[in-house]
Symmetry: D2
Subunit: 271 residues, 4 copies
């Protein structure tokens, strides 16, 4: 019953019950799972063990906030113009969480998955190939935390305490060592890369781990938007930018412009 | 040090440390807080008690998924066209979580806050005023769960176990009773309204509680997008809609159109 | 043929043809309509007259750019983090075009439509009612253009040249005069309000005129994003904000925080 | 005056004037430019010739609508949930205009630019290289318009009439011929690819041409959202999907799930 192509294993709602992944939401999930366990369950279609939950939570906490980032500023500026729609401000904040920042989470998981599919996995060879191709190794280096990313050491410690196998996190450490050996330059494992490896160790495919980074960031965005409501910076930031900006628009055409012939009416088609 | 107008109490990042709400992220927050406690802390600027955490988690879990809603379909259709950008699909899903669905969370908290500011609070009078004005009471009634919303009873039970004062949830029950008495029609308290009241009981202002509904929904969206990656419905849904749609566009102007005079050249300004 | 509820009069595509509003896209629309005529036709389901086109274009041109607004900054900051997805940056820019800025377009059209539905329309009475209710008159006043909004005079002149009836624009002028008479304070008609009135005069309902403001702004956002690609400011703006910000997060709980009891384990549920 | 790094050549606003690209908005642009000329000018920083305007308009018109696409459905579903925020629905619609659909515009321009940078440009060799690498040639083939895309022939005809040099459009025709010769399979040049080539011929860099596709699509989205307001399909589509969907969630763990050990408390951490 139902169309074969239109199927979902996630949620269904009837007058009497809401079902999520085959469990009754009210009696089997509410009050029995923390929100992060629910997030894990929704995507993994299995319950995490206590150790898995601990690592999953720590990675989410680690990426929830990183100060007044471009994404946070975009969200707060959006609220300045559209306070009727909190979802718009959160969405604007998430849209900036792309390849440059949170993409590292996914790139790292993807790179490590490719290396782990080798038989046997060979960190040195993979690193050498990336260097030869002129590519950066995902998960290494950070433009603020140049010597050590404080989140990384802590996440590794929590993973060790959690007592679960962590081939991705282990390999990432080998990759960092191989990179240092090959280049003579020590780059720290960054927090986004470590989180990506941790989520991969919990069984999530590289394609979806960026989603958890977005979930983490959503919590931070809500905090910032609550602050914007009582202690706004968006409007002042706009006026400050307008005041400080240099205007380079010039009446005569810039160099390189096609000069318009005398009779050209392009500027006044209706005039 | 620093501009007075450009201040934040949330996050700061230096080469050595990341600070969130005055705590060291790595040593004081990671591994010590669950993700939902972190979300609470980020917005409330205080740590929740165990009972508060339990209620906060339950409300988040209750709103994480409600099946193939318009918001979920929008997210999955977006992924069909833009798989390069997971954040775009999540953002599209959140954009549909507006006044009609998740807005109830905020509306309920707002309405209850207004009643609670009365001296003394008077549910009967407030309900009568809404009815007289022809307005619906926020938080009552659901178009699927017509007799009882299964999430509501469970959330009230968890709130009772949590052992914290719940004036908003209590008042919402009075409001439902007053509405039934005044109209002779029993409407259930819906899950979104109950969640809004619960978050208000935890000390959050009505303006921000919609944010937690968005956080909850983000977890559901990630689950659905993971499913879309392996068991896609977006493309088929599009083709199915195209196939089943009735096309009503007609060559002659529709009734009500302004007839164009014979010499009108509007259709071929460049032609 | 086709479902009755699933109908559209806009577009249909078959292997041989694309039809828009009953016209063949390739032979009847491409090369015969300017893009703004196409936008008009898509929503109005009728072709504009030359005078209507001229006013429609002028209103779009008037709102296409207003400098480094919050919306533009949000778009450029988004590109800094997510250059893989130009649609994400444009979307982020549009999300800030809400009630505070471009909402005026819709609010003005809505207010004027309500006054025009009176028999007879009475600007003085409507203005008096708004003032008595403590509401601002939509379309009047601007925080930068305090004496005169340069777009307004020009749009009225173009409307006059266009030779079409403009009851909304005429009424807006009466409203401004009535407001000045009632308060002794002359507020200019702002450009967004004038554009809203102009689009209403072209037959569009108030609910949709904000859409044309979004269309106008999209053109400006593309210009800014092209500039961001070659002359970026997003990254520098972020670093500048981080550098200048005052951090107010403090280790001891803020005043008003619930003090935690000694045995409270809330901070270390997994610790 | 002003920060050196914070510069823009686009817009500036003072109490008396709004300047765009060095021109006075009210007196030099409004009423003198159509909206598409304004969009051209904003990005190109030069005025288009009449022939350029004609081609630019035709390409915008060609991509404004393609029926009930995933992007349009996402926008209409978003409006169902969030009617308070038209910008949110437009943004949701644009977010689906990514790599799979409108990305072709950019990919085609990029590919042709690479070939044109050869000395001399060699379509056959470039096509052979793509085929050898197992990649599809951008701009060729369409899943609905399998024999001929009706927009393409018309756009080429308009380009010819416009009397401007069109090296990109010319090369795209060579590419299609080279592909047919190499594979024996004739694929039509699709409308998105032709539009991308046309915009490149007008001097726009490949990185930004997707922006014009977004601008075109915004016009279509506004038409669809206006229709959704009076003849809604979003709510019915949701209920229809819910009704037809097959629910595959099952109480026992799916195959491949990690079986939970008997004493596992993960499901009831708070229970």
């Amino acid at each position: 019953m139902g169309e074969d192509w239109l199927r979902t294993g996630i949620g269904r709602s009837t007058p009497d019950a809401i079902t999520v992944r085959g469990r009754d939401l009210a009696t089997e999930l509410m009050g029995r799972l923390t929100f992060s366990e629910m997030a894990f369950f929704l995507t993994a279609n299995r319950m995490p063990s206590p150790g898995e939950t601990r690592l999953f939570d720590a990675a989410l906490v680690s990426l929830a906030d990183h100060g007044l980032t471009p994404s946070v500023l975009a969200a707060r500026l959006t609220w300045t113009g559209a306070p009727e729609s909190l979802q718009g401000s959160v969405a604007a904040g998430l849209l900036g969480a792309g390849d440059v920042f949170l993409g590292v989470v996914e790139d790292t998981a993807r790179f490590l998955a490719a290396v782990l599919s080798g038989d046997p996995p060979d960190a040195e060879r993979a690193v050498a190939a990336e260097i030869a191709a002129g590519r950066r190794i995902p998960g290494l280096g950070h433009n603020v935390h140049k010597v050590e990313d404080p989140r990384t050491r802590r996440l590794y410690a929590i993973a060790a305490e959690a007592g679960i196998p962590t081939p991705y996190l282990d390999l990432l450490r080998d990759v960092a060592a191989a990179h240092a050996a090959a280049t003579g330059k020590v780059l720290p494992i960054n927090g986004a890369g470590a989180a990506g490896a941790a989520w991969a160790d919990l069984g999530f495919r590289p394609e979806i781990v960026r989603g958890f980074a977005l979930l983490a960031r959503t919590a931070g965005l809500i905090g910032h938007l609550a602050e914007e409501m009582t202690d706004p910076i968006g409007l002042r930031l706009w006026l400050d930018v307008e005041h400080r900006a240099t205007y380079t628009g010039s009446r005569p055409p810039d160099r390189g412009d096609t000069p318009r012939p005398p009779g050209d009416t392009a500027e006044s088609p209706n005039g």
